[in-house]
């Protein structure tokens, strides 16, 4: 079973709000000093799903694929230390100008170039730009089946059977490989890297591709949507503090306040 897992390096979403700074002119988030980026949470779930599928099928290769510019190798190697086999990075300054359509074109081209994938697995969305449609775009571009929010998956030969989460239950789908699935935290906790895994990962060197290696040039990648403003929303900052003679009194006053404001 050959699997490609798409992952993204993101600013740690647990960065304290006080350390979250936006350059409004450059329309960029300035990474906080001393807080290292992380692999997007749902992408770690995707790596876990890939590892479980590989273990169940008894063989194959897991290739981790990512796109970006300033990769922190210690961070990016986490999927390798969890047990993935190889890594391909599309590392190119031109990717900075891409919109989601451009990113999809690049990732789809890389998936084709890697070749022989039975399964593409992506995190449902990334915690930075929250687009949630890159995986859908990849499945449309590659014209392969797509099952979203997968809770459980079973594969035998070329058959896929997966549970796809609904707000009030789940659907069970069957399809054929090659296919794409997305996962989120409902899939289950990603495993921790073992010491052995970390040692093995440290000896692996990711393959680096540029956009031109994928046969893509500027004119293919004109953005169809443009970021025109990025700012930090001003919080209302007018929290009315309720304080009674003691905590018991405070609880009572809070309830009365909510009634007075007709909230309850």
């Amino acid at each position: 079973m050959n699997i490609i897992v798409c992952v993204k390096q993101v600013i740690d979403p647990d960065t304290p709000i006080s350390a979250f700074v936006v350059d409004e002119i450059q329309k960029k988030v300035i990474p906080a000093q001393g807080i290292s980026p992380v692999i997007n949470g749902y992408c770690e779930n995707a790596v876990e799903a890939a590892l479980q599928i590989k273990e169940a099928s008894g063989g194959g290769t897991i290739t981790v694929l990512s796109l970006g510019t300033k990769f922190v190798m210690d961070v990016m190697k986490k999927p390798l230390s969890m047990g993935a086999d190889n890594m391909v990075l599309i590392q190119d300054e031109l990717t900075l100008n891409l919109d989601s359509f451009g990113i999809v074109k690049a990732l789809a081209a890389a998936i084709n170039k890697i070749g022989t994938a039975d399964m593409v697995i992506c995190g449902q969305q990334a915690s930075d730009w929250d687009n949630a449609h890159i995986p859908l775009g990849i499945s449309e571009t590659l014209q392969i089946p797509c099952i979203t929010s997968v809770l459980k998956i079973h594969m035998s030969d070329h058959k896929v059977r997966a549970h796809s989460a609904l707000p009030d239950g789940y659907q069970v789908f069957e399809t054929q490989t090659p296919a794409l699935i997305t996962v989120n935290n409902l899939y289950g906790e990603p495993r921790y890297p073992t010491l052995r895994g970390i040692m093995q990962a440290s000896r692996k060197t990711p393959e680096i591709w540029s956009l031109s290696d994928l046969g893509l040039s500027g004119s293919d990648l004109e953005p169809s949507i443009e970021l025109t403003e990025l700012s930090i929303p001003i919080s209302s900052g007018n929290c009315e503090m309720i304080k009674g003679e003691n905590d018991v009194d405070t609880g009572r006053l809070l309830a009365l306040k909510l009634r007075e404001e007709k909230i309850i």
Partner: protein, 329 residues
Amino acid sequence: MSEILVFSEVKQNKLDSSTGELLSAGQKLSKELNIPLSIIIFNATDSLKDEARQWGADNIYTANDQLLESSIDEVYLEALQQVCAFVNPSVILAAKTSLGRNVAARIAYRLNSSVAQDCIDISGDEKTGKITVTRPVYGGNARAKFTFNGTATKVAILRVKSFECPEQNISKVSEVHQINIKIDKSKLKLNLVDTVKQESKGIKLEEASVIVGGGRGLGGPEPFKHLEELAKILNGAVGASRAVCDAGWLDHSYQIGLTGKTVTPELYITIGISGASQHMAGCSSSKNIVAINKDEDANIFKAANFGVIGDWETILPSFTKTIRELIDS
């Protein structure tokens, strides 16, 4: 070309309130761009068409196929693609529901157009024809505005409850057009084998108008019974922060936040929740936030409307008791 097409969703034989919200946003955009507002209703009944009329649609498109009876993304995608071939809309509006967000994003790629997800505002400029959307990004820590380029169909997926559902009284003289579509079953890539409904106990988090949320500050799973009690009095639901679910005090279906559920209640009472951006991403659209926390520097107080600094163990019982008295009286 030059019309706004709303992708409608039907729940219990009625247009979903999220569709009403789309028509509300669509009416605003229709005025700004001076183009008509249309809606596609699949397998429409007369009462559904009436609802769309009362919600202010100029054109009502209907298209029927038996396969649309089951809610499969791929089937709706095929159907919408055939509708778009007929209508050729300049804008498609869909709601960020489990169906809407997948179908709308995928149609954008099929039409080789452009898409913006999770929009909380949308506006158009008649002179330039440009459409701009506002989206919370970085877990709600930042706000981004995007402008669509080019002439291809623009797809905007709107966050549920970002727009008020209009009153159903607009009584438009809408034109109804029947579009013939045919879903070719052999072209579908997925085979739906089973649909399993899991009845949730009580009120669903996403639909609750009151939520009582607990965080790490509660110290363990046991105190959640007090939150349940309060939620029950207020006819609401219990939610939790990621820390609570990661610790296994409650399962992940209770989780509110970036990696959990997005909620938009009228009242969100948080107890022992610090208000990390992770969490706020899922609840910042709540109408009123009440925070009970012992740390006066907790971030939650920046977002809250009413705050109490102190020990929940003594505050909560008297708060709950007074609420019960107020509700009962």
